[in-house]
Amino acid sequence: MIQFMNVFGIWLAAFFTISIFSFLYKDNPFYKFSEQVFVGLSAAYWLVYIIYSIMIPNLFAKLIADFSGNAILLIPATLGVMMLMRLHPRTQWLSRFPIAIMIGTTAGISMLRYMKSDILEQVTATMINPFAAPDTAGVIGNLLLIIGTITGVFFFYFSKKQDGIFKVPSKIGIYFLMISFGATFGYTVMARISLLIGRLEFLLKDWLHIIQ
């Protein structure tokens, strides 16, 4: 039985793989079917994952083990139920309370976290002596790092129209951003190609046994 299920699993995976690849030719029923199955499986996977990793250990297990000691957890549980009230038009307004608490908490945490890690630390890391590098490439690199950061930030300054003399640093900032997008693009291409190789390897090796 276990051997049959293993083979069946491989055929199932091969069917879904080919069905998705069939979209390269054109949209077709096999692709549509696989796409919807993926949506369903994905939604259920995350739901089960949330139940076992968040809801049970943080809420239900604590309430079952010691209800009176953890009675305060009924507040987030009630807020959670109020969140579900969003589904009904009449009770929709009740969901504003849990959303407000979530948004308020997130805003407070984000404000501090981003202020420290994304602003202060990045600015500090840019305040370097460019000529302290051991070689010429390092000096040029450090200069590029400083110029690129300043001009890049300048480009994102939208409060004033960037024309005349202000257009120059903005343009330089765009060039640095393009280099960065190119590097990101390159990495994305490589990641997708490696996934593609993985799928082709599965089809040719595990399913068809053409390659070893």
């Binding site: 276990i2 299920m5 069946f8 699993g9 199932l12 995976a13 879904f16 998705i20 390269l24 199955v37 993926f38 949506v39 369903g40 499986l41 994905s42 259920a44 996977y45 739901l47 089960v48 139940i51 076992y52 968040i54 943080n58 987030p76 807020l79 959670g80 139920v81 969140m83 038009p89 849990p98 608490i101 979530m102 948004i103 908490t105 805003a107 404000m111 501090l112 981003y114 202020m115 890690s117 602003i119 890391a125 790092l145 690129g148 001009t151 890049g152 994102f156 393009m178 280099i179 960065s180 997008f181 190119g182 590097a183 693009f185 390159g186 990495y187 997708r192 190609i193 996934l195 799928r199």
Partner: protein, 232 residues
């Protein structure tokens, strides 16, 4: 009350979280850890809300026999199957309502939930993302034919990074003498990643960080209210 009370809630919790950073003593640190735990629990319900919404949308399409309803039925069935398997026999090491399902796991080779995950979810996910390789190639071609200075810069960087991170890069410029090692493609890719790319990433981080700080302040002070939705 329907609008002003949530705004007060957001203000109070936001201020408490901010104060806790500057007063890391009781009761502020305790309140923040409690709020973070509540946040997780409410997020769990928020995800549940999303799933219920998905079920409602699919059910509506199936019930009214809207175009492609059959595929939505397949989606709904796969959702139900994965959910039931997960709830009954659990996932990985976690037992479900009926225990760990040792008997059924012996038949399948793994728990039903994990079996579906390995043989359906994983192949579908990997193939869908690998499909993007073709669309990225098409997008690259379109970007390349624009032939502007910026698009050329983007493409040249992408090519250097791709070649520099694979064995072909080492092969192509491996013959260069030591004095020209900077122009060795893998070194050039490293240089791009370390300096110009880092500079632009820093600019994005700083600018986005400033934006997030501003937005957070607007939310806490109640200036930004769009998350409350309509006036119903």
């Amino acid at each position: 009350m329907k609008r002003s009370l949530p705004l007060i809630f957001a203000f109070v919790v936001g201020v408490i979280v901010l104060l806790s950073e500057f007063i890391p003593h009781r009761p502020f640190n305790q309140i923040v850890s409690t709020l973070e735990q509540w946040f997780m629990i409410i997020s769990g319900f928020a995800i549940l809300l999303g799933q219920i919404s998905l079920i409602r949308m699919n059910t509506h399409k199936i019930y009214h026999r809207l175009p492609d309803w059959q595929y939505h039925l397949a989606g709904l069935l796969s959702f139900a199957m994965m959910l039931i398997f997960g709830l009954l026999w659990g996932m990985q090491e976690t037992p479900g309502l009926l225990g760990s399902g040792a008997g059924i796991a012996a038949q399948l080779g793994s728990k039903p939930f994990d079996y579906l995950f390995t043989n359906a979810y994983m192949p579908l996910s990997a193939t869908l993302f690998s499909l993007l390789a073709f669309f990225i190639a098409s997008a690259a071609y379109r970007a390349f034919i624009i032939r502007g200075f910026e698009s050329n810069l983007l493409m040249i960087t992408a090519v250097i990074v791709i070649i520099g991170r694979t064995s072909i890069g080492t092969m192509l410029t491996g013959w260069l003498p030591e004095s020209l090692e900077f122009w060795h493609i893998p070194n050039l890719a490293d240089f791009i990643m370390e300096y110009p790319n880092s500079a632009a990433q820093r600019a994005i981080l700083i600018s986005a960080g400033l934006g997030i700080v501003g937005s957070s302040l607007r939310i806490i002070l109640g200036i930004e209210r769009s998350y409350l939705g309509g006036d119903k």
